[in-house]
Assembly symmetry: C2
Homo-oligomer: 450 residues x 2
């Protein structure tokens, strides 16, 4: 065949070579560990879903435009999932009567969106989704916000690096009603203008509010809300359910030591109409990067599209892997994965039998030391080059002399230190050393990690 295929991945997707994969596994591993400690449980669904699932939410045209979709040979319209919520809604609806509420669920899954690739947005991305279903009180909102803070803290982020901006849609509506006498629909229209506030010039913002019938004085009152704390703001309509929810949430954030990570922000709307209570966005504090990284909120009915006369509330958020990586890179929170990890290459000479080397590998393996034989018959110098390039921490050298004396040389490629070690003492040389093994074969067999 003369025609040669391209080696590039499809536009907007990424190849994860071992280096990138280590980073991804590190991301997901930390997130998983932190959320599981707080009793969140992981779920996942299929990559392909019926297109209806997305069309029902955002209209067929938009669903078709934003997803990768096609018909199968049975004429069924399918889409590659662009988000997780419709899938999890379907799953909850399917087992609604069997599940024990509240559910604390999360997933880490890949999604596809048909859009122009740009910084922070790719066509294929991974997304963390965290939700609590079936708990109507502010405590679930607290728990979800806490989980977002916990996830970022697990990566070493502290309060100097990010801030959670919190608002409440019910409170927003009541506050706008108190200021401008609007009904729910009027408040919704105002919310659309507030949502765009930071994306348009001030004049446009004011003109848009005036077009909705607001006066300069009313606009000034809204302006005042943007800088108020939660006590000042909720004083505007103290009996509003939203105000009560906000005060309860902030009171709890204060008492649970989370207040330093959070601020009230009347400008937070979260575009989508389906949010009904608490809404929040997490901002990167880095000046060059000051923007919402991710966010979420509370919605009243998760399963309405699937079940008549049934209602399960939810509160949650989604966080993309690209956004998270940008944040961690900016704040220098990604470690060098090659430092401090024991990984041993057993180099080889032609006059020593394979099984002698193999026995060393097996001994180290059983003790939980990452180790393997050099495969192939390159010269010793090339084997050392290979070890250095592939970030092995140590090489083991055993020629026929060492074999005869039952010893090996262990060379630390970082410090250049060399030790002669009895073969039977080899496992303890590594496991008693400064760098403990990550996991032993017994751990794997007995499932300590699961």
């Amino acid at each position: 065949m003369d025609f040669k295929l391209s080696t590039q991945p499809y536009k907007g997707t990424r190849d994860f070579y071992p280096r990138e994969m280590r980073l991804r596994n590190w991301f997901f591993g930390k997130i998983r560990d932190a959320l599981e400690l707080a009793c969140f449980e992981e779920y996942e669904g299929p990559m392909l879903e019926s297109l209806d699932l997305y069309a029902a939410k955002s209209g067929e045209e938009l669903a078709k435009e934003q997803t990768y979709n096609f018909e199968d040979r049975g004429g069924r319209s399918l889409a590659i999932r662009p988000e997780m919520t419709p899938t999890v809604a379907r799953m909850v609806a399917a087992k609604m009567g069997e599940l024990n509420y509240p559910l604390k669920w999360f997933s880490i899954a890949n999604m596809y969106r048909y859009e122009r690739p740009q910084r922070g947005r790719l066509r294929e991305f991974w997304q963390l989704n965290v939700d609590i279903f079936g708990c109507d009180t502010f405590e679930a909102d607290l728990d979800v916000i806490k989980s977002a803070i916990t996830v970022l803290r697990a990566f070493g982020a502290d309060e100097s690096m990010f801030l959670v901006h919190i608002n409440n849609r019910r409170f927003f509506n009541d506050a706008i009603a108190a200021i401008a006498g609007t009904d729910t629909e009027g408040a919704r229209r105002v919310s659309k203008v507030v949502d765009r506030k930071n994306k348009v010039p001030r004049e446009t913002y004011e003109a848009d509010l005036k077009a909705l019938g607001l006066t300069d004085e009313q606009i000034a009152k809204i302006d005042a809300l943007y800088t108020m704390n939660v006590t000042e703001a909720t004083a505007l309509c103290p009996d509003s359910v939203g105000a009560t929810e906000l005060r309860a949430l902030f009171d709890a954030l204060e008492k649970t030591g989370l207040a330093k990570y959070c601020t009230f922000d009347f400008g937070i709307i979260r575009g989508l109409d389906y949010y009904t209570g608490t809404v929040f966005e997490v901002f990167d504090n880095a000046p060059e990067n000051n923007r919402a990284m991710f966010g979420g909120g509370r919605y009243d009915n998760l399963v309405g599209l699937f079940q008549k006369n049934a209602s399960i509330s939810g509160v949650g958020y989604g966080m993309g892997d690209v956004t998270l990586e940008n944040f961690l890179t900016t704040h220098n929170l990604i470690p060098d994965f090659n430092v401090g990890k024991t990984k041993v290459l057993i180099t080889r000479f032609a006059d020593v039998p394979l099984e002698a080397y193999n026995q060393i590998a097996d001994t180290l393996f059983s003790s939980g030391v990452r180790a393997c034989l050099y495969l192939g018959n390159k010269k010793f110098g090339k084997q050392i080059d290979f070890a250095a390039k592939e970030h092995y921490s140590h090489v083991i050298i055993m020629g026929s002399d060492e074999l005869a004396s039952g010893t090996v040389k262990v060379k630390n490629l970082g410090t250049r230190e060399e030790n002669v070690v009895k073969i039977e003492a080899l496992d303890s040389f590594f496991t008693d050393g400064a760098v403990p093994s990550d996991i032993t074969w017994d751990d794997i067999m007995n499932g300590v990690k699961e």
Copy 2:
């Protein structure tokens, strides 16, 4: 909206509720740990690839028939990956000059195949792919076969449960040539008949061989090979390169203690033409289930479709999650994930402030004890029901009396044992107990697990 959406996942795909997801994470975690200990490195590629990638290998018609494929709005033909090899070949070809060989790579990724769902075969499945690229000697074959054995052993499987059947395509060709005087193309035709041997009646098998010109005597000689060990079989054409490879491999299997998991089997072909040397299949020994679970082999040129005048050899295998689950279920190797895991529900009374409960949760969390507050305001009995159904191991009970005395009651839901514990001694109550914590917050922060 009156029309209600279906709650069923798309045909041939699965929803992973937390219970199923725990199983999947357990599968993949064990595989990852075992392979990483042997210095294999994980990679992944995109779900979507150019359809060309599959058409180049198996023809456009077959590629279109077996994959989910469609055109994007730029007119580019895409397919959801039905297998990993074309992706990894593309990735290796893209960085051919930068990579350090041999590569020991694996991936665990989901695939889609357009086929009728049946036992062991779904439309969406996960597949482990393990390969060594760029090592031409039998040692890579040994290492790959060893990794397959290691993966199964990591799940507790032993030599009574599975057996690796090994053959060599070069030896096969030479043996058939020695018996029937065929050339390479003739041997290839015979291999197709042998490959189908166990799927057709004996008469069909014989008739097919006779149609290729083989005599009864030659057929009998092939029959004899099916029951021979490697020494007997390779005596037929001792100078064949394939025979030398086979003897070296079996000698090494013997000397490295792996012989008990392996057998020579002249009937193993692995349908695909691209295998060139060692081929193997792993059989389930359970009588009701005696069939090849998965297999693989050696192929000469991975990157030929992408790079002219370049050649990188590979040896590897793929194993599906459904097959693995069937095997583990048959041999009773899947543990009860709810046994022995500490998971604490902090129950609540209305007259104790939220933050008092929250502090207990934080203390346990910091000590690596999986714990959370009951969310909501259901009665105490309902909270206990919830804990039992959701497999919490313990509940913590703190009413206003306990709060006043700085204690809590800890109830073990398995043994029904109840202890009164000082709040400040609560973390050590769990961490010093019989069930150690899986991972602590410090572990998560400091990355011990990565």
